[in-house]
């Protein structure tokens, strides 16, 4: 399907950062779902299941790196997630459940879904199988956050808009930071942005925002 040389040093160099981001992203997701138990104690059982799935994903993506004999650049990945990580932690400390859900269950999950869907057609055969299974789970995770926010939409709306203003620009910065590496792996920035925006807009619609509100929210921070 593609003519990518998965063994060439340039590919492996870029893969060391992208693979690390994915591994770190799954670790962050695991930790975030565990943390959310503090704010949603009655949903601890579901959150625990989601966290376990994220841990499994992390193992899968670690295996993908091992398969290509690539050492993931975890220091780069931790720095990459620093902004979103800090915003999640701050919201957690302040008990802002809505902000936490927007960051983890909506923004990060939408981004993961977009990135994995774009990656699957250009992935090496080993990683393709793993990513295909992961992406199915990510839709469930997205659904978890969307359902809660939909049920509590009227109280959550203002905080969602504020959290969107704070965090969506970070997504565009993160994407710009790895656009070059993603391209070497066969993923175009435009495709990633387009798929993210489509998934994000659909999710905001499911939660209860109007088309006009979604158009304004989705354009936040795009230069």
């Amino acid at each position: 399907m593609t003519n990518i040389n998965y063994e060439c040093p340039t590919y492996k160099d870029s893969y060391s950062r992208i693979n690390a981001i994915v591994i770190e992203g799954e670790q962050e997701a695991h930790d975030n779902y565990i943390s959310l138990m503090q704010l949603l104690p009655d949903q601890s059982s579901d959150l625990s299941k989601l966290a376990k799935m994220e841990e499994k994903h992390k193992k899968g993506f670690t295996a993908c790196g091992n398969n290509l004999k690539v050492i993931p650049d975890m220091a780069f990945a931790r720095e990459f997630f620093h902004g979103l990580h800090q915003n999640f932690q701050d919201a957690l400390q302040e008990g802002k459940l809505v902000t936490c859900l927007l960051i983890q269950s909506i923004i990060i999950e939408c981004f993961a879904i977009a990135a994995y869907n774009i990656y699957i057609p250009v992935a090496d055969p080993f990683a393709r199988k793993i990513t295909e299974n992961v992406v199915k789970d990510e839709y469930l995770h997205l659904n978890f956050g969307a359902i809660w926010l939909k049920e509590n939409f009227s109280q959550a709306k203002a905080e969602l808009e504020e959290a969107n203003r704070q965090n969506l620009p970070l997504v565009w910065q993160m994407l710009n930071q790895v656009a070059g590496d993603a391209k070497i792996l066969g993923m175009e920035k435009e495709d990633l942005m387009a798929d993210f925006l489509t998934q994000y807009s659909e999710t905001l619609a499911e939660i209860g925002f109007s088309g006009r509100e979604i158009m304004k929210m989705a354009a936040t921070g795009i230069a």
């Binding site: 839709y139 495709d191 489509t198 807009s201 659909e202 979604i214 304004k216 989705a218 795009i222």
Partner: protein
Amino acid sequence: MFGLIGHLTSLSHAREVAKELGYDEYAEQDLDFWCVAPPQIVEDISVKSITGKTIVGKYVESCFLPEMLLTKKFKAATRKILNAMAHAQKNGINITALGGFSSIIFENFNLMEMRQVRNIQLEIERFTTGNTHTAYIICRQVEAAAQKYGIPLSQATVTVCGATGDIGSAVCRWLHARTGVLDIILVARNQERLRSLRTSLGRGRIMTIEEALPQSDIVVWVASMAKGMEIRPEMLKQPCILIDGGYPKNLANTVQIPDVHVINGGMVEHALDIDWKIMKWVSRCAPSRQLFACFAESMLLEFEGWYTNFSWGRNQITIEKMEQIGAVSVKHGFKPLVS
């Protein structure tokens, strides 16, 4: 529920509409932004038939712009259409018309092979190009305009520009079989398809547009052009009728010459007001009753409960199907726009 997938005619048109609607963030953006912008349902619509039946639908803005084709951003163009279709299906729309370039992109880029859109498998029977109704309406516009401006079809030469396309070929078949037209001139880019069309019709002269215009009493423009073309007034016969069925319009400027009558091709007028704003944005006309015939096709299919891709593929439109959709068009109160 019916759906309409539409788009604006150019980047400047998109900016103008965005500004008018209060989307300042969109009004200032360039083409790259429109390439990544997601589809949106921008209006809920309700339409009443003269039979008394009322149906509801949604307008899906695909955020496609013709400049994406002009600048060879084909991947963006195809993504726009697939995402808009997935969005329509996800929102439970039973039958959706692919307006403007949507159906052309679907056909030309073979999107039939790309029906898996993330976690949605597109169900093709939920979509129609609307081309059967458009072709029917254009033919009725030819007949009505000929009568209105005193050009008997039995003595007329009619040129079809874009003759080998889905709509153009259907118009040729109707003109040949139903109107007694004196002469048909076939204009298109692909010579092989032109010869094949002439063989199937058993008539028709093949020419360039420059050769055809001075001989034509009526010109039907249904070419898929991302940008309109300029025509010099001296090329036209007077009197003549120009029926411009393109979106964006095939003719770059409105021709203002006495005895040259320009008709807004492929447009219908409904007998009752439609409560919507979208037609004002997409066609800049006075739109409480006027709309594209392809959009009207999805309404007709919804009125009749014909949940099927009534118009699909290339050059599959038969005269029987044009008559079938034409009969329900009349039944529910639509008529060809001739003004």
